[in-house]
Amino acid sequence: MNDSRTLEYSELARAGRNCDLRGLPQIRVAILSDAATQLLVPLLRELFRRAGLAAEIYEAPFAAIELEAFNAASDFYAFRPEVVVLLNATQALRSSFFQHSAPRDFVDETESRMVGVWDAIRSNSNALILQSTYVAPYERLFGNYDPKLATSWTTAVAELNRCLVASSRERNSVLINDVDAIASWVGRRTWFDERFWDLAKSFCAADHLPSIARNITDIVLAARGRVVKCVVLDLDNTLWGGVVGDDGVDGIQISAHGEGESFHRFQSFLLNLKKRGILLCVCSKNEFAAAIKPFEEHPEMVLRKDDVTIFVANWDNKAENIKRIRETLEIGYDSIVFLDDNPFERDTVRSLLPDVIVPELPEDPADYVKALSELNLFETTNVSLEDGARANLYRAEFARRSAASTFSNFGEYLASLNMMIELERFESSRLGRIAQLLQRSNQFNLTTHRYNERQCEDLMLDTKCMPLYASLRDRFGDHGLISVIVARPDMAKRALQITDWLMSCRVLARGVEEYLMNYVVQQAYENDLDLIIGTYIPTAKNAMVKDFFAKFGFEKVEESPDGIAHWQLRVFDYQPRRTYIQLETKQNALAAEAI
């Protein structure tokens, strides 16, 4: 591990006290805790810095969670947090549990107070709330009878965690910071350091504070769209034991029992990642024919050919191959994980493509899954049905691209796709996927406002606003929800103001944006508005839509030195674009599904 990734407490604390945050975009984080959190703050600052963010951190006074949350005029709200970290210590809970007269009511009372805090924060702020789980206590007052006894301390903590997590499921802006999971990873014996609790109300042993900080930054980054989308895999001695080119298909180790079991377990883990929407690609130094064979022929392989989105086997530099994979998938390097047992290959990729995530793999394949789990690489903040279908969509996309070459003109090809679009106002059942797209779209995104699900709900309920989503399907498959547009009439200017416009890159260049612009202009016309106003806010990743408005005949009316540009178009000047897409009404869609 190189130094910049260290999670050693003293080093991290030192780095956090002296870190240079100049020029980094800010993130506002408030911490409310019933333990002292001062030792955690520098660690958070340093981990956010490594992720390219300058964390502005508000620390509420010690044990003032409710005081801050229930007072709309508190400094905490004045700070305008984007993220609220609620960190609850088992040690603090312990004293209230043992003072409580009725252990049976303790869980309910505590849970409803904590949920009350969430709801107070939710009504005063749009912040993302990170609620910690309680670390299971080490006391075993009744020995093995503890968990069986409904009123025991052990049971109270377990029940409280269960209730909190269940309540969080009903609240999209509340995410769980599973501190109990990281504590059980190291073990309660070393997690708790009662000396520092007694002396300074410090949450846990200092050595483990970095893992709490990392849990927090992992969640926040995922919520901001920093998620792994693709795992690129080596084959020999990574996905199976042995070298297929030398040992042959029958000679490699991959089976549910014996020596191959490590690889079997690893492949199952990868298959589960694929099922939740993470793409698997192969990048192997091999002859293609030899490399693909186990996927087609070996009866005990867990991963089959269809599970792999892009299969690259050649003798080129792996960094070069990953570059090509990235271009095809149109995702960022920082959303790719590269797994290879060979330290040389890892090193090459790390040095040539520094944004690709290249974890060390342990020497023993038996430990692969454990090592990856410890790194918590696959954090997410929501799961939608469409995630699982993503891999299939990408495969369909390749079929589509090869089909494109057989048509003499592009329009003819587009017409042959039988594209059907569904275009609707935001609706409750789609808010999860809408928010997910808002969080994840980087390239085709004009203003990159990262609304969360709650903010989307607010837009949906705002009758003056026009929040639209579009879904697309064609003869190759259903792309699901692929575009979001938010527009708002400005009566004073007699204009329709487009505040947000984003689209999944996988439906580029087939007329979707043209179709949508036709629709937006039509809406302005029907509402008797004269102008369409659009804004482009540049980010590191959205240069591809810099001239989006120009393409539709908008004129640039203003551009600030930092590149934020305002564009406008007279409704009467607009030339509707030719598209090959048909509108699908909901009734049609239902009928289509019924067939």
């Binding site: 003293s10 604390a13 030192r14 001062q38 000396r195 002396l199 300074a200």
Partner: protein
């Protein structure tokens, strides 16, 4: 171990933890004499010293410390108890 060696190692640990490469410690040094040595930094210093000397101080030992001299004595006592000189 001679007291001077311990002082050198402790100075190294304190310099690193406090981020002050010019820091000079003597047995009489107290928290008041050192910039940045507040109650929080105190925990960091104790944690770092425990790591350096591979020992663990008790709560009472930590609260009884008045100056660097006390810490040096404590470390010497711990080392003596853990690994008797032979």
């Amino acid at each position: 171990m001679r007291n001077n060696d311990v002082l050198d190692r402790l100075t190294f640990v304190f310099r690193k933890t406090l981020g002050d490469p010019g820091l000079i410690l003597s047995p009489g040094t107290t928290a008041h004499d050192v910039q940045g040595w507040d109650s929080l930094m105190h925990i960091n210093l104790i944690v770092a010293a425990e790591k350096e000397f591979k020992t663990r101080f008790t709560t009472r030992e930590i609260t009884a410390l008045r100056n660097i001299g006390d810490l040096l004595d404590l470390i010497a006592r711990k080392e003596g108890a853990g690994a008797p000189k032979g």
